[in-house]
């Protein structure tokens, strides 16, 4: 926190046209009295407000995204630094390595460092829609997860760890362009 005193935002961040835009959007989420530069850099915005941003509103992974980037002890709010982290990972300047690293953390619903069958089935449900008529049937889900593990679990331990995940991602050239949120 010591770096913020008296220095403008430009000094403190990596990529600044993004950070000025981000700061403007972040301040819109804060109540009126907290919108000064110093206060906004220390404020914590609860998840409900972040999830109301138009860029995140329609995303089925929005809760996971907020939880992954949150550094507050109760993990239910984002500071400006966290928000900037989020935007920089989803921007053009992040390398595919960083994107796949954070994608892995977003997909790891139980935060245990690997994607097991439960994680994968929750992931597929997010992708296809949560409603009863939009889910895959149980047999289809089992077959799909078996196929996924067959294709990507190289060391055959029944889970997908970070390196296996990154190996799958490296085979898809579209990932870096689709893992992008434009502010």
């Amino acid at each position: 926190k010591g770096g913020f005193e008296g220095k403008p935002i430009a000094e403190n961040t990596d990529s600044s046209p993004l950070s000025t835009r981000a700061h403007r959007r972040f301040c819109e989420l804060l109540p009126q009295e907290q919108r000064s530069v110093e206060q906004s850099l220390l404020a914590q915005v609860p998840f409900e407000q972040i999830l109301s941003l138009p860029e995140l509103k329609a995303n089925p992974f929005k809760e996971r995204i907020c939880r992954v980037f949150s550094t507050s002890p109760t993990r239910d709010s984002l500071s400006f630094e966290d928000f900037l982290d989020l935007l920089s990972v989803f921007s053009d300047t992040a390398t595919p390595d960083i994107k796949s690293h954070y994608a892995f953390r977003i997909f790891d619903f139980d935060d245990d460092g690997t994607l097991n069958r439960e994680d994968l089935s929750r992931l597929v449900n997010c992708l296809t829609g949560e409603g009863e008529d939009t889910r895959l049937s149980a047999s289809e889900m089992k077959q799909l997860i078996d196929n996924i593990l067959e294709e990507s679990d190289i060391d055959r331990d029944g889970t997908i760890n970070l390196s296996e995940f990154q190996h799958v991602i490296s085979r898809s050239p579209d990932f870096a362009s689709s893992f992008k949120i434009v502010l």
């Binding site: 860029e55 799909l144 294709e151 060391d155 331990d157 190996h167 490296s170």
Partner: protein, 806 residues
């Protein structure tokens, strides 16, 4: 490479350890001399485990591999705790693990003698088997120490490398900032600290303020430039509502605009500009402009810079040689003579050459980005992990994307099922027959269209009464345009009848057929122009006519595209909503629209030689198409059901633009320049046998000019006109391509070997996990039984202490 590491398994000790009879793995200090002893011990344990051995046998018979004996949920908490702290699981979560991983990478970087390529860092998965192993280090360094080690390593790197390293680390921005500040070379800091008194501090502050002001100015400029990118907001809206695949169509349109702008700039600078500055004498009074010129290109457009016939064949701005009939000749001061025929030929040639280089470069670049070794396998995992498009921001579009992904997953599973149970010979024959029939019909349609156009164009040549009216000139473009529109619809109906296993293949087949149709039509038209029209219009300006024909085709293509958008999208949506009461809007057919763009661009390239302002017409047309398509898309359409791979698509579009389209236009141009006799009444080449003669004439002039420029005719004779050089270059190119193919094949083999190695390591890991699990299970059982016996017999405490002392 690897030093033998002392594996110290940090397992929390339980009180029952010392009492147990068999040696536990972390107590072992003996080395097994022979495998015989090891096998004996194994079989001893196996006999003890009894029931569990049977279970393992049952599971292992199916695959012949090790499997985890129990799913993780039922394993003991101690095992789970150990599993959770495995390096492969912590690397995704713990900050310390990330720091240690990047520390090792930085060390590897420093140890390489040459500067490594910045884009080629190897993904090292297991931090455990490296030289500096901070995770299993028995002294268990704190995070701060790890961080200070990393900082020290970073300081030894060059600034650019350090920045690149920092940018690639998946840490939060605050940590990256602190690492960057700490790893900044202390020399700079010391210099800053030195100026503490008086003038020096004033200078230092002034310098700091200047640097800050420049920095913010630079940032403001950057954000201004980003805002100026044309159509940025429109493209974001399209991407947000329809996804990346529809966006790629509009990006392709932008690329075409860039190509046309480049070509037009060249032509205006070297051909149109000079001719406008020195206009030739007009042959007669200029005809009155009616509105029809915009459609036909004839009439008052004929004798303007727009068409070939207007350009002079002499040298512009020539200082007077010999004064004719005694009149005084006023030479213009500082005037440079400008050889128009040469300029015309070489500018068009240079324009095509630059377009070719740019196209091939973009195609290769796009291919390099989209091709990955092994990208055809693992389609289920790739679809699940990579197919969600985070740019989509609307709720309805998001739901649509979910529908599309669900459909795609179901299709993949169905395809997989089908592959598992291969079709019978009868079924395969039937499928081949249906496929062959559909292809035959489509090729027949293309051939039929070509024949129809040929017959119709011959009819137009033969009938002289139609040639008088200007509006009759529009008939051929109209007929061709209608055939162009209608035949793809027919092919699509045919494609719906044939069975296809893979929907992606279906789309590529549709593109292929549409392309063949357009190539057939354009081939017929080229023969009609260069073969028949030249013969018929011998003493008139046939180049003007061909240029005007292409202008007409371009304009008619635009008009028909407008009508197609109107009826195909707007009216269809109204009908389907009101009459048929369907909630689905018509889909935006990406393939057909892109092929329309490529067709229009091919017409432009075909016509550049005969109409130097045609790229400007194409630019105006593309701008209008962008706005029309965007409006219609946002109002009437929805995203296509088949999810497209956007990067593959842009590669395919550029390849289609380069190979059939540009290559065909280049062949047309070469034929027109080399083989066709230019008309004798108009244009810059009216006195020559072929357009290429102009170059030859100039080379002969240079030869006669003197020995000092003799290298240029030499180059011309031995490199341009001699075919040996071209063969040599092609042979070298083929050799390079073959080498690259072999390299890729070798890489694939290496990948297979590495995968095998990893799965062997995985079997080792499972074996060890099972062993660990059995140990803890036995401990827990003994613990439980011991607790049970103490409760039953209330043994004296001395016995317990004796056991513990053992």
């Amino acid at each position: 490479m690897a030093q033998p590491l002392a594996f110290i398994l940090d397992v929390p000790e339980t009180p029952g350890d010392q009492g147990s009879q068999e040696p536990s793995p972390y107590d072992e200090s003996e080395v097994h001399d022979s495998f015989h002893q090891l096998i004996q011990e194994q079989s001893q344990w196996a006999a003890q485990e009894g029931l569990e051995l049977q279970q393992r046998e049952q599971e292992a018979t199916g695959s012949g591999q090790q499997t985890l004996r129990r799913p993780e949920g039922t394993q003991s908490t101690a095992t789970l705790r150990i599993l959770a702290s495995m390096p492969s699981r912590t690397i995704g979560r713990s900050r310390g693990a990330i720091i240690s991983q990047y520390y090792s990478r930085t060390v590897q970087l420093r140890r390489r003698s040459s500067r490594p390529l910045l884009g080629n860092f190897v993904l090292s998965a297991r931090p455990s088997l490296r030289l500096y192993d901070l995770e299993l280090d028995p002294t268990a360094r704190e995070e701060e120490e790890k961080q200070s080690l990393l900082v020290k390593e970073l300081q030894s790197l060059a600034v650019a490398q350090r920045d690149h390293m920092l940018r690639g680390m998946p840490l939060s921005l605050a940590e990256k900032r602190s690492l960057r500040e700490k790893s900044r070379t202390p020399r700079g800091k010391w210099r800053g600290q030195q100026g503490s008194g008086g003038v020096c501090s004033c200078c230092g502050r002034l310098r700091y303020a200047c640097v800050l002001a420049l920095h913010s100015l630079g940032l403001a400029l950057l954000s201004g430039l980003q805002a100026l990118t044309p159509w940025r907001y429109a493209l974001k809206r399209i991407g947000g509502q329809f996804g990346s695949s529809v966006l790629s169509y509009f990006l392709f349109l932008k690329t075409l605009l860039a190509f046309n702008a480049l070509l037009q700039l060249l032509l205006v600078a070297f051909i149109v500009g000079p001719q406008v500055a020195f206009p030739p004498a007009l042959p007669g009074p200029a005809p009155i402009c009616t509105g029809l010129e915009l459609l036909t290109g004839a009439g008052c457009f004929t004798h303007t810079v727009m068409f070939y016939g207007h350009y002079g064949n002499a040298t512009l701005n020539q200082p007077c040689g010999s004064p004719l009939d005694g009149s005084q000749c006023t030479p213009r001061a500082g005037g440079l003579p400008y050889n128009m025929p040469l300029a015309y030929l070489y500018t068009v040639g240079a324009g095509f050459f630059i377009t070719c280089i740019t196209l091939v470069y973009s195609m290769a670049h796009s291919f390099g980005e989209s091709y990955r070794v092994g990208s055809t396998s693992g389609i289920h995992a790739i679809t699940v992990f990579c197919s969600w498009d985070y740019k989509v921001t609307q709720k309805r579009a998001s739901r649509l994307q979910q529908d599309n992904i669900r459909t795609r997953l179901k299709e993949l599973l169905a395809e997989w099922q089908l592959r598992q149970s291969p079709r019978s010979v009868c079924g395969r024959l039937r499928q081949a027959a249906a496929l062959g029939l559909a292809w035959l019909l489509c090729l027949g349609t293309a051939l039929g269209c070509a024949v129809a156009i040929h017959v119709f164009s011959e009819f137009l040549i033969q009938s002289p009464e139609a040639a008088g009216q200007e509006a009759a000139l529009l008939v051929l473009p109209l007929v061709v345009g209608l055939l162009n529109l209608g035949a793809p619809y027919l092919c699509r109906v045919l494609a719906a009848l044939e069975p296809h296993d893979s929907p992606v293949l279906e789309v590529y087949v549709a593109i292929c057929r549409n392309l063949i149709l357009k190539l057939a039509i354009l081939g017929t038209l080229c023969y009609h122009w260069l073969g028949r029209r030249v013969a018929v219009l011998q003493d008139q300006c046939w180049e003007d006519f061909v240029g005007q024909e292409l202008y007409r085709f371009l304009v008619m293509d635009f008009v028909l595209m407008l009508l197609d958008t109107l009826f195909g999208e707007l009216v269809w949506r109204i009908i389907s909503e009101k009459k048929l009461k369907r909630r689905r809007k018509p889909e935006f057919d990406i393939a057909r629209n892109v092929l329309e763009l490529i067709y229009g661009q091919t017409l432009t390239w075909l016509g550049v030689l005969f109409s130097p302002l045609l790229p400007a017409v194409q630019i105006i047309k593309l701008l209008l198409v962008f706005y029309v398509k965007k409006t219609s898309l946002l109002a009437n359409c929805q995203a296509p059901r088949r999810p497209w791979l956007a990067s593959h698509m842009s590669t395919i579009f550029l390849t289609l633009l380069c190979f059939p389209a540009f290559l065909g236009a280049a062949i047309f141009l070469c034929y027109a320049v080399w083989q066709v006799k230019p008309s004798s009444t108009c244009g810059p080449f009216r006195t020559l046998d072929s357009m290429y003669e102009a170059g030859r004439v100039w080379v002969r002039y240079l030869e006669a000019a003197g020995p000092r420029v003799s290298w240029l005719p030499w180059v011309h004779r031995y490199l341009v006109e001699n075919t040996f050089f071209v063969f040599l270059v092609s042979a070298l190119l083929l050799a390079v391509i073959y080498l690259n193919i072999q390299v890729v094949r070798g890489q694939r083999r290496v990948i297979c070997l590495l995968k095998e190695q990893i799965s062997n390591e995985g079997e080792d890991k499972i074996f060890l996990i099972n062993k660990l699990h059995s140990i803890y299970e036995r401990k827990e059982r003994e613990e439980r039984s011991r607790v049970g016996t103490t409760e039953e017999t209330a043994a004296p405490p001395t016995l317990l202490t004796d056991e513990r002392d053992d």
